[in-house]
Amino acid sequence: MRIFDMFVPENLVELLQFLDAHQSGVHLIANGTDLINRMQRRQITPKLLVDLTGLNEFKYVRREGGMIRIGALTTISELVASPLIDPRYSVFKQVAMKFGGPSIINMATIGGNICAASSSEDLLPVLLVLEAQVQLRSVNGERTIPLNDFITGKRKTLLRPNEILTETSLPELDTSSTCGYEKIGMRNSLIIAFVNCAVYLKMNNQTKNIDDVRISFNRTSGKIPQRAQETENALKGKRFNEQSITDAATVLRGELKLTSDFRASEEYRTEVAGAIMKRILRSCAQKLSGEQIIV
């Protein structure tokens, strides 16, 4: 481990002032699951870290103003333990199950996941299809940005040097909408996904009309999680059936711009993306209608 300095703020005010004074060369650290890993692999060698773990005021899951608000330092296991998660947001339990075992979910924070902004952060596709927003705070005040805009590139966000992410908020799901997730990797635990996919589906149970659909993958084009908007448009307003989701998978094939790496080939990722998208769509539709729609 390379040697560095760490600033441990007593409270939020101290933290924000410190960040404002330093502006650059500072790395924020929550529970370090991503940061320490990268430091050990010598991908980054920060000289100054700022410890966020003392700010317990950012550990919460609340319902307020029609939104589910999650404090940035809430861990994955704290999130899924919240009574607000069941049953509408059971998708977070699906994410937690495949996240990497108890010791990882006990540490990984929502804020940490978001700010890492990489395709190995499993929460991001789910938060994107839930149209999450992030709240950022600095000495200058607060601002709220859609998560979709917040992540601008691989490990790049709109977080300013003097800002911290304090909260992510999700609009409440109504009874005609649900969310699903699946992760495919090399084994059943402790995996960086080859492909993971989150789907939000709003469907009219009588007509089976797809009122709204949002789809995101860990990589859609480039190396960050993004919404697959062409594919979404191909489904919106259509009747939910095997033909429409198969057509959507064809559009997806054209929309995805993936790459091969030593973990998996581009062809594999593209093909599996389509297959699991269809599976999640089917299971979302089934959840909403309570019946098996497709044989």
């Binding site: 760490m6 650290i29 699951t33 410890d51 075992g101 108890p102 006990n106 635990s189």
Partner: protein
């Protein structure tokens, strides 16, 4: 900002240690407090071998800088039982010869403890999930599961 006074409770005992920023909880446990039972397997949080209980929750001690564990209660393998008073989990691991090279055993025992402390009657699925973040290369996990079931039964009978 390169040194900090760390107040921490380990296995029920309070400590005040001056630590450097880059020292991990794992380093402080092993090198400052002489508790060698917690092991380092990969340094990058991918194997779970360094797991300890922090405020009752299993965490990878290689992914926590020591100062981030301030004011927390840590339990390491040394705090689970002694030769004179073995924890049922330790007895069960011995009975099943669940320890082969032994390197994953402290983490496995702590993961078992976290599980059984909150869920005294776990299913096989729950046992698998509780140990899913810890790699064992020697045993194939089977005898570890048996040991946890045996320990659970013994702990339930004792209540």
């Amino acid at each position: 900002m390169s040194k900090h006074l760390l107040n921490i409770t380990v296995n029920g005992k309070k400590h005040a240690v001056v630590v450097q920023s880059h020292e991990r909880l794992l380093d402080v446990l092993r090198d400052r407090l002489g508790l060698k039972g917690t092991k380092e397997g990969c340094s990058t949080g991918d194997c779970g071998i360094c797991a300890v209980l922090m405020d009752g929750k299993l965490v990878n001690s290689c992914l926590v800088f020591a100062i981030q564990a301030r004011n927390k209660e840590i339990v390491t393998i040394e705090g689970v039982g002694t030769a004179e008073k073995l924890h049922p989990i330790q007895r069960a691991f011995m009975k099943w010869n669940a320890s082969q090279c032994g390197y994953c055993i402290p983490a496995m025992i702590l993961a078992s403890k976290e599980l059984l402390d909150r869920n005294p009657n776990p299913t096989t699925e729950e046992i698998r999930n509780a140990t899913s973040g810890i790699i064992c290369r020697c045993t194939g996990y089977v005898k570890i599961f048996e040991a946890i079931k045996t320990a659970a039964a013994e702990m339930r009978a004792a209540d």
